[in-house]
């Protein structure tokens, strides 16, 4: 049983995001981390390996050379090997191009389970897992709060508004997990030291059999505008009045907005 966890390197959540002139995220300007939602996928994969349900855990990422740092950090948490697809032709890749590239790399790796986070912290398209599953003709088990493996099939538990669903599919599958799987572990010092000796392979598009031209400039979509959220109106404070007056004022305020 082989699990490949797809991870993305993103700017730290707290970092101020800057954009280049053509509205791409300026990745050099901010500290980079493993997409926090991918850490849950890593944690899920490592728990399955520790429980003996999987023999190996590998990581796959598409990104610039610096994405190797994210893969190295993932290897420090656990797992066996990592693969980075990097190519100049991939600059500005959208979800479609990313999915095509990951699907081609996964064809080469042939995992039983491809595991991903539920979204990326920077773009939040949440399209790549579905697209990869479609391109590879595999079932998609999405938004699992837990993933289990048994008897040649994978099963996720998905929380719903009224309870949860259990969804099962025969292997191989693509699955995504949520932040309900449990807190991702910290890399231990020995883990960090061991990670330096684990294999980390870099592939170009040619290595995974993708023609640069087939990616149509790496994107079908185009970002036409990137704006910070509009500032909230200033907080209105009710001060220096009696409790009754304060309650009446707050009730009026809420009523004026049809909230009560």
């Amino acid at each position: 049983m082989k699990i490949v966890v797809c991870i993305k390197q993103v700017p730290a959540t707290t970092a101020e995001k800057r954009y280049t002139a053509d509205l791409r995220l300026d990745r050099a300007s901010a500290e980079s981390v493993i997409n926090p939602l991918d850490e849950y996928a890593i944690e899920q994969a490592l728990r399955l390996a520790e429980a003996g349900a999987a023999e190996s855990v590998a990581y796959l990422s598409m990104g610039p050379d610096s994405a190797a740092e994210a893969l190295r950090r993932a290897l420090a948490m656990g797992g066996d090997e990592a693969h980075l697809v990097t190519d100049d032709a991939l600059a500005g890749a959208d979800e479609w191009a990313t999915a095509k590239v990951l699907a081609a790399a996964l064809d080469k790796l042939g995992p039983d389970v491809t595991l991903m986070g539920m979204a990326s912290d920077d773009a939040r398209g949440s399209l790549v897992p579905g697209a990869v599953a479609a391109l590879r003709g595999l079932p998609l088990l999405s938004y699992g709060s837990e993933l289990s493996l048994a008897d040649g099939s994978a099963r996720i538990r998905r929380l719903t508004a009224t309870g949860y669903d259990m969804i099962e599919a025969p292997l191989p599958v693509v699955a995504t997990v949520t932040d309900q799987v449990g807190e991702p572990r910290y890399a231990s010092l020995k883990g960090i030291m061991a990670a330096k000796r684990k294999p980390l392979e870099t592939w170009s598009l040619g290595d995974i059999g993708v023609e640069g031209g087939s990616l149509r400039g790496a994107a079908l979509t185009r970002v036409v505008e990137a704006k910070p959220p509009e500032a909230k109106p200033p907080t209105e404070r009710v001060e220096n009045v009696s409790a009754d007056e304060a309650a009446a004022k707050i009730a009026d305020w809420l009523a004026a907005r049809k909230l009560i």
């Binding site: 910290y186 890399a187 231990s188 010092l189 020995k190 030291m193």
Partner: protein
């Protein structure tokens, strides 16, 4: 001799800082208030391999260089001084075994210390023998294949939570403390050993400081460290190295206080502007930061001397501890000043940091003892010798 921080050092700092900020800092106020040893954080540090940094890989450690160990202590102390003592005392207690132990002693004890399965304490100080180590009185009498230990120790950090001690007792009382003292590895399960009390302290309140009593405690001969009479030398060589951890702790405490002061000054408004915009506050912050940076760099420079086993390493480790301890006291006091009334109440952490800082001027040699060590080395270097007191130190 030069030193340089490597990419590995910076990576280590980043991971310890993240762990400390997310898991240790949020616990610091409660640890201080309850004055209870943070067993959960001891487990966390063990799991992350941060208690094994001073141990060889064959003993299950990660064998970081001394700068690496310094960075670990510094980053944990930045969040909580009490918790930083867990790896610091693990090293302090283990150093006598590392410096003077046999292979059998090392194989038996060091793996359990590196993994964090066992805690160790360094039992040297006595009620009447603080800075004046040579006036120690605890006895060790040879009886057959055992030494029988009688006496008491005081101000022993982790003494009440340790599974094993490196303890020092007179095997030849007539020869006195300097020549008649020997070191022993004492398991605290041994009959006759007892914790008489745990002190109530001003700072590092979650780190238990204990008075220990030994009533006919029988220690096998094979648990003696080095030869009879080596105890004083082993203890001093231990402190020459271990006090660097206190310098690191002091730098971390100071940095934690700077972080708080800067954050507060940037947020707090008075007279219609941020407190940080007042030059008087800026000058204070600048002094705090530059002095802490100087202490940090001196600590790293001393760490490089320890790794090189340089003959003048006491000069460097004492200088680092002296400068860093005084810096921590000054910087934390100034941090309280920057926060004003808010700095004096427990709602903000700087009053705790100020209380914690004080101990760095006291234990593992008071600042006055550090000056004696520095002066002695200085005069020896000048070829004029030093007419100071006997080589003496305090521990706690």
């Amino acid at each position: 001799m030069t030193y340089r921080l490597t990419d590995e050092h910076e990576e280590l700092r980043a991971i310890v800082r993240e762990l400390a900020a997310e898991q240790i800092a949020p616990r610091a106020a409660a640890i201080d208030e309850s004055a209870e040893f943070p067993w959960d954080l001891k487990e966390l540090l063990a799991k992350q391999d941060l208690l094994g940094t001073c141990f060889e890989e064959r003993h299950g450690g990660t064998a970081l260089d001394t700068i690496g160990q310094t960075i670990v202590a510094e980053e944990i102390a930045r969040a909580d001084a009490t918790t930083s003592l867990i790896p610091i005392v693990q090293k302090l207690g283990a150093l006598p075994i590392q410096l003077a132990g046999t292979d059998e002693q090392k194989d038996r004890y060091l793996p359990r210390l590196a993994s964090g399965e066992w805690l160790i304490a360094f039992a040297l100080t006595e009620a009447a023998a603080g800075s004046d180590v040579a006036s120690n009185r605890m006895r060790a009498r040879l009886e057959g294949d055992c030494y029988v230990l009688n006496g008491s120790k005081r101000f022993i950090t982790h003494g009440s939570v340790a599974n094993v001690l490196t303890a020092f007792a007179l095997t030849d009382p007539d020869a006195g403390g300097r020549k008649g003292m020997s070191g022993f590895i004492v398991e605290t399960e041994t009959p006759g050993f007892a914790v008489a009390r745990v002190e109530h302290k001003m700072g590092i309140r979650g780190s238990p400081t204990a008075e220990l009593t030994f009533d006919d405690v029988r220690v096998p001969v094979e648990n003696r460290l080095g030869d009879e009479g080596d105890g004083f030398r082993i203890a001093m060589e231990t402190l020459d190295r271990s006090r660097l951890s206190i310098a690191a702790q002091a730098v971390g405490i100071a940095q934690g206080a700077i972080d708080e002061a800067v954050r507060y000054a940037a947020d707090r408004k008075q007279f219609g502007q941020r407190v940080a915009d007042f030059q008087g506050i800026q000058f204070m912050l600048a002094d705090m930061a530059s002095q802490t940076e100087a202490a940090r760099q001196l600590t790293y420079a001393a760490a490089a001397r320890v790794d090189a086993n340089a003959s003048d390493l006491p000069y460097w480790t004492s200088s680092a501890k002296l400068v860093a301890g005084d810096t921590a006291m000054r910087v934390t006091t100034d941090a309280v000043q920057v926060l004003g009334g808010y700095g004096y109440i427990t709602e903000y952490p700087v009053e705790r940091m100020m209380r914690d800082a004080k101990i760095t001027q006291l234990y593992e040699g008071t600042q006055q003892i550090q000056r004696l060590i520095i002066a002695r080395q200085l005069l020896q270097r000048a070829g004029v010798g030093a007419r100071t007191m006997d080589r003496s130190e305090t521990t706690a």
